[in-house]
């Protein structure tokens, strides 16, 4: 189970087909103008149990400091991808030729994970693989920053070993983003099935990932790429910005001269 707060995120979750369990309403906290929006949410929420609570209780329940008067408890989606990640025996379901993956390695802020999911969804990724997770994709800040992406796009956690083995079995190439690399991202080829690994902003990427990428580079299946930083005042990019720059370069290389490429097929 997880909780969404406010009309906008609740609507997104219900539109994505997630199952509502309980709805908490606090009319005191809702301006009259929101009534129609809330009625729409309630209509979508169907048979979920409804409770009316006081403002004091809603403020205790909610994560936000200034909650709206609506909070919905929903069932977490269960992604087939979660099983596929662990099922080593399944072996070798080959990747679609244009498959894109984003791997969040060591992401520490829920907002960053949500923003990365938003970028992954915008670029047609199959899913976001969260390595050795520290943050929950259904944290309220992650939900908000994802603008609903986490309701439809599988964001699935696993050990880094499972993730690398999974991508290997599918024949996906692996590119790790790291500011130190001499290989500029625009000089690498992202046309085949590709996964991008983005580390945490502050502490930097675990050495383990750089070693894996070097080994995969030897096999012609990826490497370590950098995004050039031209200014003097900053030395890094926000994690979701770095993810977007790499993912959109992959989209650009794939679609070259097509203004609006077709939607890639999804595995899940």
């Amino acid at each position: 189970f997880f909780v969404v707060e406010g009309v906008r995120d609740a609507s997104r979750a219900l539109d994505a087909g997630l199952r509502p369990i309980e709805v908490y309403l606090c009319p005191e906290l809702n301006p009259g103008a929101a009534a129609a929006d809330i009625d729409r949410v309630l209509a979508k929420a169907g048979l979920a149990k409804q409770f009316t609570v006081t403002a004091a209780l809603m403020k205790k329940m909610a994560y936000r400091q200034d909650p709206q008067g609506l909070l919905v408890v929903l069932e977490q989606p269960s992604w087939p991808l979660a099983r596929a990640l662990e099922d080593v025996q399944a072996g070798g379901a080959p990747a679609a030729s244009d498959e894109l993956w984003l791997v969040a390695a060591g992401t520490q802020k829920p907002g960053n994970l949500g923003a990365m999911a938003r970028c992954a969804e915008a670029t047609g990724c199959v899913g976001v693989l969260v390595a050795d997770p520290v943050v929950d994709p259904f944290n309220p800040n992650a939900i908000r920053a994802s603008t609903g992406a986490v309701f439809r796009l599988p964001v699935v956690s696993a050990t880094k070993e499972s993730i690398v083995s999974f991508l290997d079995r599918r024949g996906v190439q692996l590119y790790v983003g790291s500011p130190g690399s001499p290989l500029c991202y625009t000089d690498a080829g992202f046309v085949g099935p590709t996964a991008f690994v983005i580390g945490p902003e502050d502490s930097g990427l675990e050495l383990w990932w750089l070693e894996i990428a070097a080994r995969w580079a030897d096999r012609g299946r990826g490497g370590v790429v950098s995004i050039p930083i031209l200014g003097r005042a900053v030395d890094s990019l926000n994690a979701s910005v770095a993810a977007a720059v790499l993912l959109y370069e992959a989209v650009r290389q794939r679609c070259a001269h097509v203004a609006r490429p077709a939607e890639p097929d999804r595995m899940v």
Copy 2:
């Protein structure tokens, strides 16, 4: 004057050469481990007046909910660019051939403005032009999200008319990002001096900008470009992500096969 809080942002501001006026310290709020960092800041702050305050007072002074025990008041940088924007008579200082600008139009969240400044600095922009500003680039959230970019990169506010006239006088082309445009950003040419206009995320860009861009397109000096959204769950990108995707496409087009392009000259 403006305020920075905490060791990291204070160090960045002082390293950028900004002039400190007053330093407020609260030893109670600083763990012993921070002593060396704070001493370094104080050494850099030189002749600024120092005050020691209680934790209760520091919590009132600070913007953050959990302040560190360090707060520095500094003089705002004064950018020659601010005068150049208003000086219509100066007429026609031609742009450097690789000049890049970011125009923030109607940006409503300080964090977004700071994140956009970070991307602008990372891609070697000459400056960020804030049209009809709603937010202050020296708001604590803007400072933090910029990771210090606002201390070195001119982030200058003006009316949208002044900004467009300034870019026109310099011979810069103007591309407005808007999801509705049939022109994919990768099909436009950003090799000459270029400014990108990014609107607010929620309310969308003012019609005025689309009309200006259409008029400039007729003159062969820009247009309206979109970034394709391939997913089903999201319909837009974060403002700083959109800025980064456009700016890095310009860098890519300019540098084609050079792994680490040289730093562009700065006007200011």
